[in-house]
């Protein structure tokens, strides 16, 4: 838990440093706005003093004009300040989102073993969105709350040092009050924020599993429990808020005290002047000064209030920090010092004494595994789930690095290949190909965006995509993927095969390519895959009974000795 806190603190500090430069224009405009506010207070005080004590008339229009101009300037400052703050928020979010996405790309599918893809998406989208306030409001507010009142107090001190001192004293009382009520409240509010998040997560979880609840006949129970949980949260939250609002009431309190004290003090001064029968000019001057400082009081407290309002933005940041800290950091695992090149002609693959564990506590998935696949041959991986089939394929894709031992492609160590060289060597087809939001054409060209129409046509025919494209509403231009036309499992797999044809890489990795298909479709897809496998080095992980249609070495990860498949189903494809 304390480790968590350190991470959060470090993250918040690092982000504050990065955000501060962007915050400078906001702070500048804020200070300018406070300065204009002082001018406004001066004009209003001058006009009021003139009205109350005289001499009225002369220069009044000028003062009104000046006040109008200052009001416009202030309005402009506020508007610009808001726009600049929004821009700073966007800049920070762009930077953070880029960082998160790059980290996800670096981390690769290994991340998906710990986190659901929806969670990662939420991190890159919603969590980052929620951080807007941290950069747009909290960082500038955390500078302005000292700078702006300081500026106002100094200016007030030139006119009436005594009242400025009252203001400053009341202002200083705010942090003291905050400390008194606030420290407890800050800790409690962080806990409360966590409790809130947990309730939201619980609600979402129950709604997602609503079918299960309904069918178990537990709707009423769960509804009551949900109500109880919400009520419990409310009670706890209110306990926190009772204290937290005290700390913001301390700002109100300080302001009222400052107002009343300054009003009484100036009232006293002016009254005394009246009783002492001072000259009207003297009275007018004293009135003006008094009004001026009085009008400054609310302005003095505006930035303090801003800080209190922005505090929840900070709480949001703390939540996001721990989630982002869980992502892999800057250094990519594989590409360091990658220099080796492998020709894209037929490649061999070898594992030499490879050991790997996803989780040290659970023991290694691969333990001293060795095998070799000569160029153009096929290796079939069999074994129960969790026996390391996917791990082997992920090593060949460069997503995970062996704990010990070596993985070579074409006799070059995989870790020494540049990512672009490596990706040039392999094609990969998994259980369900990911269809990106876009047209069918874009999805196939994903493999090689600059492919010629001829190459595309060849790939479509070879993968038998052309057999169903004509039935689609808009042919190759049909939109598929999220929010588009749904393809059947077999059709989707054909797209993956077309991609692989288009890419034409020497090493083909097949990870349970027919796991979600019914037997008839499975047979079709296997037939296409056999065509694709011609002349390539193939690693096929599958538990399907039809896998014997492939000829090649068979590696049972249960027993760990490569056994050649008996040629009962020799295929010449």
């Amino acid at each position: 838990m304390s480790g968590d806190k350190t991470v959060m603190k470090a993250w918040t500090r690092a982000q504050s440093r990065l955000g501060r430069r962007q915050a400078m224009p906001i702070v500048g405009l804020g200070l300018l706005s406070s300065l204009v506010a002082v001018g406004q207070a001066w004009c209003v005080a001058a006009i009021l003093a003139r009205v109350l004590v005289g001499p009225a008339g002369s220069g009044a229009a000028g003062l009104l004009g000046a006040l109008a101009a200052l009001a416009l300037a202030r309005g402009l400052c506020l508007t610009l300040g808001d726009i600049v703050a929004a821009r700073a928020g966007r800049a920070a979010r762009r930077r953070l989102r880029d960082g998160v996405l790059s980290a996800i790309l670096r981390g690769g599918p290994a991340l998906l073993r710990q986190q659901h893809s929806a969670e990662l998406t939420a991190l890159a989208v919603d969590r980052v969105e929620a951080l807007d306030g941290f950069f747009a409001r909290w960082i500038p507010a955390s500078i302005l709350w000292i700078a702006a009142p300081g500026l106002i107090a100094v200016l007030a001190a030139f006119i009436q040092p005594g009242s400025a001192a009252i203001m400053a004293a009341c202002g200083l009382a705010v942090p003291v009050g905050q400390a008194l009520f606030g420290i407890g409240a800050a800790v409690a509010s962080r806990n409360q924020f966590l409790a809130m998040t947990r309730l939201q997560a619980r609600f979402l979880d129950r709604v997602r599993g609503i079918a299960t609840i309904v069918l178990a006949g537990r709707t009423e129970d769960e509804a009551h429990r949900l109500a109880d949980a919400a009520d419990e949260l409310r009670r706890r939250t209110m306990k926190v808020l009772r204290v937290a609002f005290l700390s913001s009431a301390s700002i109100d309190c300080a302001m009222v005290v400052a107002l009343v004290l300054i009003a009484l003090r100036n009232g006293g001064i002016v009254l005394e002047l009246h009783h002492g029968a001072a000259s009207p000019a003297l009275v007018a001057d004293a009135t003006m000064r008094g009004l001026f400082v009085l009008l400054l009081v609310p302005e003095f407290f505006v930035p303090l209030r801003g800080l209190a309002l922005a505090y929840q933005d900070r709480a949001h940041a703390a939540g996001a920090a721990s989630a982002m800290a869980a992502l892999p950091d800057g250094d990519a695992p594989a590409s360091a010092g990658a220099t080796a090149q492998v020709d894209a002609e037929g490649v061999s693959v070898a594992f030499e004494h490879v050991t790997f564990a996803w989780d040290a506590a659970r023991g290694p998935v691969l333990d001293d595994l060795s095998f070799a696949v000569p160029a153009g041959q096929t290796l079939i991986l069999v074994g129960a789930s969790g026996s390391g089939k996917s791990t082997i394929i992920e090593m060949l894709l460069g997503f995970v690095v062996p704990g010990s031992g070596r993985v070579t492609i074409g006799r070059a160590d995989v870790t020494s290949l540049t990512p672009s060289n490596l990706s040039g060597l392999v094609s990969w087809i998994g259980q369900k190909p990911v269809l990106f939001a876009g047209t069918l054409r874009e999805n196939i060209l994903f493999a090689r965006p600059d492919a010629s129409a001829e190459d595309l046509g060849h790939a479509l025919r070879a993968a038998a995509v052309d057999t169903f494209v004509s039935d689609l509403p808009e042919g190759l231009e049909t939109r598929i993927g999220e929010g588009g036309f749904g393809l059947s499992g077999g059709q989707a797999q054909r797209i993956a095969i077309a991609r692989a044809y288009l890419k034409n890489a020497p090493l083909l990795l097949l990870d349970e390519p027919t796991a979600h298909l019914d037997p008839a479709t499975e047979a079709d897809i296997f037939a296409s895959l056999r065509g694709l496998a011609q002349g390539r080095t193939v690693i096929l992980a599958s538990h399907s009974a039809s896998v014997h249609e492939f000829t090649g070495q068979r590696l049972d990860l249960g027993c760990r000795h490569p056994v050649p498949v008996q040629g009962e189903h020799e295929h010449v494809g």
Partner: protein, 562 residues
């Protein structure tokens, strides 16, 4: 997501109707909500009196006539702070209660209506979006209704204070206040509503892009497409930012305009005091009015921002409300308790999920005597899961009938039907909770021994025993902390806890590898003896023991030799 046909609830252009519907859900909380509003108004009033008093006192002393006592100043000062504190506590408390009501209402509605069929069809993303819509409703009371009520109070207070002094000035100040408190927020709401649509749409676009990136990691690496996909997502990001920048500019400009309204009112009062434009007004009153105007306009500062948010909130309200009216055929709520007999019979059952969709079943007839073990096979998408939905009364036949123990399912109470029929599928949800809580969902009164027995029968007991927290081990979201096969066995244990005589096994082993699948099916054979078993699958593995097998095609079932 947003343009996926058939999966999007009516996006509802928003507007007032859904907001009123949400408010009507809060009827029970009305006293508290109103109390919060009244307190907020009192706090505002105290603030107005305080400011007016401060100004008047100063003016009074300056001109030598003391008008306001120190006492009044102090009382209203203390009153303001105390009232503000109490008001914030009460309004927040009321808001939490109201929001909890909406959550529970939403949950009941989703579970009760045809919407359960929606969950049955696993539209997870849609559901998460609805959940965040419920959360968005908290702004409705705190940020819109309460400040709006405040503005309604300040307006007459302000006008009545100025009117006796100078009617023309009252008109000007009142007009400016109306503009700042109502016209500008309304404008912001109207403009914001259009933009809220664009924002939602572009955010969804970004989400799709990111989801593509996350789920396509292997493809991206295999095709070396990191740069391409990243620039693709950046493009979507930039489009979202563009829409946000537009909204931020709108908000800033409207906020600035609202500020200028207040300043114009201040200028008008000062001008009147100086006798410029308006007849000169008494100095002391002018000072009082000035402070009053400043405080009054301060009270409505947040309304423009709230106005711009109103569009989003009313859209959220519309989506939440529309849950009650999800599409899908209605299920008749029966009243009779389920009979003792458990023979099942489908008689000429026809069904379609929506009128514009092709029928799933067309004259389906099946006979499943009590205690028999049957399989219904067919390729994915043919409607095998719909069969489960019909039996569980999540959906009702469009024609024909289903008999349970000789009684029409439509007449039977759905709760009692579901106590007879248990369901296990790959979609069976494991909740982010302890193993114990997940099991107790099957039968809340099960004893510790019964829980272990169920786990043992599902052949997962030893694994759970080896976990450090045993039954209190926390399962992550969707059972993320255990493997697929282990999760399925925990779900099986939960199903076994319920003593329902009919078991529907809907693709119970899909997604497991061959050996795990075989083991799991063997376990199923062993633990389901004596119950009616309806196995729904796209293929058989050969280890299932079955009495009858049907294959589904063209909305009908054909018997296959077992």
């Amino acid at each position: 997501m947003s343009d996926k046909p058939g999966n999007t609830p009516p996006t509802g252009a928003g507007g007032l109707t859904p907001v009123l519907r949400v408010l009507s859900l809060w009827r029970g909380r009305a006293p508290l909500l109103v109390a919060g509003g009244v307190l907020s108004l009192l706090a505002l009033l105290a603030g107005l009196v305080l400011m007016r008093g401060a100004g008047a006192r100063l003016a009074g002393t300056a001109s030598g006539t003391l008008v306001v006592g120190v006492l009044l100043l102090r009382v209203s000062g203390v009153g303001r702070v105390v009232l503000r504190y109490v008001e914030r506590l009460v309004t927040h408390d009321a808001m939490f209660r109201a929001l909890a009501d909406v959550r529970v209402w939403f949950f009941r509605h989703l579970a009760g209506g045809a919407a359960a069929g929606l969950g049955f069809r696993r539209a997870g993303d849609l559901l998460s979006r609805l959940v965040s819509d419920v959360e968005a409703l908290d702004g409705l009371y705190l940020r819109i209704l309460v400040p709006l009520a405040g503005a309604c109070l300040i307006l007459p207070f302000l006008v009545l204070a100025v009117l006796p002094v100078d009617p023309a000035l009252a008109v000007v100040v009142g007009g400016l206040f109306l503009t700042g408190a109502f016209v500008l927020p309304l404008g912001a709401a109207l403009l914001g509503r259009r933009q809220a649509g664009a924002l939602t749409h572009r955010l969804a676009g970004l989400r799709i892009g990111v989801l593509d990136l996350v789920s396509g990691l292997r493809e991206i690496r295999a095709f070396g497409a990191e740069g391409r996909i990243l620039s693709h997502v950046r493009e979507r990001d930039a489009r979202l930012f563009e829409a946000q920048a537009r909204q931020a500019r709108l908000l800033a400009v409207v906020g600035g305009a609202s500020y200028l309204c207040g300043q114009a009112a201040v200028l008008a009062v000062l001008a009147a005091a100086l006798g410029v434009g308006f007849g000169p007004i008494p100095a002391v009153r002018a000072a009082g009015l000035l402070f009053l105007v400043v405080a009054g306009f301060e009270g409505i500062g947040g309304l423009t921002r709230a106005g711009a948010l109103a569009g989003g909130i009313s859209r959220a309200a519309a989506r939440v409300i529309s849950v009650g009216a999800q599409d899908g055929p209605a299920v008749p709520a029966g009243t009779l308790p389920a009979p003792a007999g458990t023979d099942l019979r489908f008689e000429q059952v026809s069904f379609r999920w929506r009128a514009d969709r092709a029928p799933v079943f067309d004259g389906l007839t099946l006979d499943i005597p009590a205690g028999s073990r049957v399989a219904v096979l067919g390729p994915s998408g043919i409607g095998k899961s719909t069969l489960a939905a019909l039996l569980l009364k999540v959906a009702a036949p469009t024609s024909g009938r289903i008999l349970l123990g000789g009684q029409d399912l439509a007449e039977l109470d759905s709760g009692s039907v579901r106590r007879r029929v248990a369901w296990l599928s790959q979609a069976t949800h494991l909740f982010a909770d302890t193993i114990r809580a997940n099991l107790l969902l099957g039968r809340p009164d099960a004893t510790e021994a019964e829980l272990w027995m169920a786990l043992d029968r599902a052949q997962i007991g030893d694994l759970v025993r080896s976990m450090p927290d045993r039954l209190d081990t926390w399962l992550g979201e969707g059972g993320a902390t255990v493997s697929g096969g282990q999760g399925r066995r925990i779900a099986l244990a939960r199903t076994l806890l319920s003593d329902a005589p009919i078991l529907i096994l809907d693709e119970p082993a899909t997604g497991l590898d061959a050996e795990t699948e075989r083991d799991f099916l063997l376990t199923l054979n062993a633990v389901t003896t004596g119950r009616t078993v309806i196995l729904i699958a796209h293929r058989l593995t050969g280890v299932e023991t079955l009495d009858r097998i049907w294959r589904l095609s063209d909305g009908r079932a054909t018997a296959v030799a077992a």
